[in-house]
Symmetry: C2
């Protein structure tokens, strides 16, 4: 590990990005409560890590804070929002006009973070043409022709497991290179496509497994 | 790695447990569509892994399937449900009577998987005593005296980040050893306590980071 690295950002580990997100969430709370400065110790404690790790995580992106004075909450908040791309607006298309997509559209902080659901698709003829929040459900067959002109940044897979890989292939073929997968399945994509998977059932089954096998 | 391991199940990696959950979700779909047998190749493809990995994952728990015939969908479904502790019923208490807890209580498949929300707590005097789905919101101060008599298996943290560690400490002090954390923060717990964290905002910020830094 080289803390002097200033090269292509793709070298930054996912775990670092997650910690940056955590730091940001604390900074936003500190901001809300009117706190002006924060030490790496406090950020470390809140983020479940060490102050050396906090300094190292931030060092990838520049020089922050003053020795003995800590970080300016306002400045570091702005920097982290910029680093995480949260100053921008991202256009999100959702495939699967079901409960997950609706929950997402209503998720507090989703639009605040710059994620805007601009289109929703389905294969179900009964859903196509109907209203889904403020949007009209479109036929998924239209996705490839819509994606470039409408500038979708992120595709959300909100379909059952058996349909997920097909939707991923369609998103990739349409030129979308960032995918959020809510289906309970690993999807295969080319190396230049980013995928994140959210699956609450998997997490609960992990707890269940641990409880069941500890109780034996 | 030792595929002959039959020792304490705590040696099984989280990544293995996740794959078992994925295999189970496919098997349940195959069951629903009336498929009788499935090969490790098919499970591997659905789970984004190799057939050797599928066989190894299953070998931790016994001998399944017949060479050349594959696995019986019905039998392997039942075995995986048992391994993952899904034949049992788990009592879940939720701390934080807000949106996350409600979403969880209404999450399809949650009770089907054996997770039953039996109590909900809050610190807000305006919420305590009010109805929350079919439950009455209790004062969180009562949690330590309720936990053992009511047999809570899992505690859900559904409070803001700054309150999460305090709730975790309270759950641990109350004898609860499995925690699902929805707060955007790492929580510290003793080694014998299992924690899983679900945080959709972190996943989206990971995508945002990758998009922002690729676009530069």
């Amino acid at each position: 590990m080289n803390s002097q690295a200033r090269g292509p950002v793709k070298r930054i580990a996912d775990s670092t990005v997650r910690r940056l997100s955590l730091y940001l969430s604390f900074l936003e709370e500190l901001n809300g409560s009117g706190t002006a400065t924060v030490s790496s110790d406090v950020l470390a404690r809140l983020g479940g890590t060490t102050s050396a790790q906090v300094r190292k995580d931030l060092s990838f992106f520049g020089s922050f804070g003053k020795r003995g004075l800590g970080y300016s909450v306002l400045e570091l908040t702005a920097s982290l929002r910029d680093i995480l791309g949260l100053g921008r607006q991202w256009k999100v298309c959702v495939v699967g006009a079901g409960k997950i997509g609706v929950a997402l559209a209503r998720y507090p902080g989703f639009t605040y973070k710059g994620f805007n659901i601009v289109a929703v698709y389905d294969t179900d003829i009964q859903k196509i043409g109907s209203q889904w929040d403020a949007l009209t459900v479109r036929d998924v067959a239209r996705l490839p022709e819509d994606a470039i002109p409408e500038g979708f940044d992120i595709g959300v897979i909100a379909v059952p497991a058996e349909a997920a890989q097909g939707v991923a292939d369609l998103l990739v073929a349409s030129g979308i290179t960032a995918i959020m997968n809510f289906a309970p399945v690993q999807i295969a994509v080319p190396a230049d496509v980013i995928v994140r998977t959210v699956n609450m059932a998997l997490e609960f089954e992990g707890l269940s497994f641990a409880l069941a096998n500890r109780a034996k």
